[in-house]
Subunit: 202 residues, 2 copies
Amino acid sequence: MPQGLLMVLSGPSGCGKGTVCDLLRQRNPNLTYSISATTRKPRPGEQDGVNYRFFTREQFKRQIKEDGFLEWAEVYGNLYGTPRTWVEEKLAAGKNVLLEIDTQGAMQVKASYPAGILLFLLPPNMEELRRRIDGRGTEGAEEKERRLQAARQEIAQIRNYDYLVVNDEVQQAVLRIEAILLAEQGRISRYSEQELKVLLGG
Amino acid sequence: MPQGLLMVLSGPSGCGKGTVCDLLRQRNPNLTYSISATTRKPRPGEQDGVNYRFFTREQFKRQIKEDGFLEWAEVYGNLYGTPRTWVEEKLAAGKNVLLEIDTQGAMQVKASYPAGILLFLLPPNMEELRRRIDGRGTEGAEEKERRLQAARQEIAQIRNYDYLVVNDEVQQAVLRIEAILLAEQGRISRYSEQELKVLLGG
């Protein structure tokens, strides 16, 4: 059985990543999502093992030492990471795994797993991005400015990605991501000599 | 406007390339097909400028000297080639161009136009390929054996391609090719700095 594909999706705050991922999930029940580990406090309604795996800082640091994360990063003073064993087991079982992580994490994944496919989701334009960030009622002006600045820094990393997906319309963005997944499954570089032999009937 | 994509489709005799290309053409009126030049004699019903551009050997040789072909090859004693200027004009106008050519030609295209995407269409298995070649009523046993041998030689080139597409079912094969086209349009390496700047709103 061929190895599954590891797909990384990044994109700045306000690019609509959450909505795109929700629709991807609905339409592709076989696409596996990794649940990140984090040291940040649960927000109201968030459940351990569903939204995140909530770790104490001490637990998290121990996992880092044991090379237990495929990638990890400190964002706004909190630690976030992707459990390595879990992802590797899914891929070995032929499942595709989607990681929704920031550019720092994406670069670590590319370094430790070069076959990973890096997608960058973009808002249709910067004015729209500012509008979306401004529209978030729960945050103060300073926090919004910080997010916009962070978004610009994320976008500056785009050349390190494999694909860009413009989120002008959620349905279209999801179709583009599905096309990338389907296309990448046919890349000849992903086939071992043995797999090609089987495919060609020996 | 971004440059169009040049997509090359190869595959052995009997892999179902003709049927796949017909359906691709029907479903994608904007996908442009190159009409090959050839020195072979027209078969009944074939029209100059529709199926092929029929050249005399002398005309063809002159075009080779003038670097007028993106690729050309001698197959079964006849010359076949893809007119360079025509393809380059379409790509510059932002149109995607599909070339249906053999492995010799595909390697020349890759050398002269590295951004080209090389697809290899495979029959579901070698028994099926033999059955399909055997099923062609118009050819003698020797010709069939020659085609099967040529098919094996073509398949041996598969590692030089970017994607493989298994033609187990025509509709599925066409969907996979369309996905590759859509995915490749989002490859970040295809965007110039200027294009990225425009996309990101300056």
